[in-house]
């Protein structure tokens, strides 16, 4: 008893799907052999050549011609049937299919149009809002600019005024020698005395003594006249 497993290889086709139904006969096959499989060819049959059957040449010649013709006819019929089948299926499809498809397509287009209109409405509203806010922003920025310019003018004015105030104390070339003389003549004494309470006694430039009471705040140790 031998079993043989039939394997199906290659891409799946309509026919293979049709074959999907389980079929025991194609997978398990019982074979009864005349001899054991490993038994050699019989001694008397080793050089046996079967006799060729007689050929009827006349018949063969006739068959050749008629077979050629027959195959041509079959091919033509096959082609015709193929076209016929294709045409039939095409015609069958067209009537229900195309109309239904067109209707569905029109419906979809209608829906699409509605969506487009709604979207356009939303978009226009948004764009109008955006334009208004942009305009407001620009106006605000203009106002801010003016404000900034005004502020700058004011600060520049004040700076000029301060500088003018300061300019009075500036040392120019004419008064340079005089000022140098003045600076050289100034004597500052950094020494001071301190009593038990922490009061400071500082000698001023004119010789007088100034009492500086103790405070919690930090005081400069020496004062300049």
């Amino acid at each position: 008893m031998f079993s043989r497993v039939g394997l199906l290889a290659g891409p799946r086709t309509m026919i293979m799907e049709a074959l999907d139904v389980p079929d025991k006969s194609s997978f398990l096959r019982l074979v009864r052999w005349r001899k054991r499989r490993w038994a050699p060819v019989n001694q008397s049959k080793i050089f046996f050549v079967p006799e060729r059957k007689p050929r009827n040449e006349e018949e063969l010649k006739e068959l050749k011609a008629t077979y050629d013709q027959y195959h041509t006819h079959i091919k033509a019929i096959r082609t015709y049937l193929m076209h016929d089948l294709a045409k039939e299926s095409h015609e069958k499809q067209d009537k229900s299919h195309v109309v239904e498809e067109a209707r569905v397509f029109a419906e979809l287009m209608e829906e699409n149009k509605r969506w487009n209109e709604e979207t356009a409405r939303i978009r226009e509203a948004r764009q109008a809002m955006e334009t208004a806010s942009r305009r407001e922003e620009l106006m605000q920025s203009l106002i801010n600019l003016e404000e900034e310019q005004r502020r700058q003018t004011v600060s520049a004015d004040s700076a000029v005024r301060t500088e003018k105030e300061l300019a009075k104390t500036f040392i120019d070339v004419d008064r340079l020698e005089e000022e140098i003389e003045k600076a050289l003549n100034v004597r500052i004494n950094y020494n001071f005395a301190i009593d038990l309470e922490g009061n400071k006694y500082i000698e001023m430039s004119d010789g007088s003594i100034e009492l500086q009471a103790k405070t919690t705040e930090k005081q400069p140790e020496a004062t300049q006249s």
Binding site: G10, S25, R29, T66, I74, D84
Partner: protein
Amino acid sequence: MSLAIRLALHGCANRPFYHIVVMQTHRARNSRAIEQLGTFDPMPNKHDEKLVALNFDRLKFWIAHGAELTQPVGKLLGLSGYLPIHPMTYITAKRNRERAAAELAQKETQSTETSSDDNS
């Protein structure tokens, strides 16, 4: 995968009966077919008829899809008038004619021989 429209032998001992089936060429004769297109009863019934039943719609479908016809099926379809007569049908008919003619000639010679014997 080459397909063929071919005969599958069913029936039992001394009673052949064929299914006309679509099947791959390499598969065993009676393995499961893709589709059965009809039947063929080769034994003449009491009215001396050999009956063939065929689904011509499906036959057309499978021929259009490239299924080849085996010789016996080709012969059947040729005789039914659906396809051109198969070349082997002509040859068989010719052989039959020749055999019949030979038999007739033999009979005639035998009869002449017997008649001459009677005369003598």
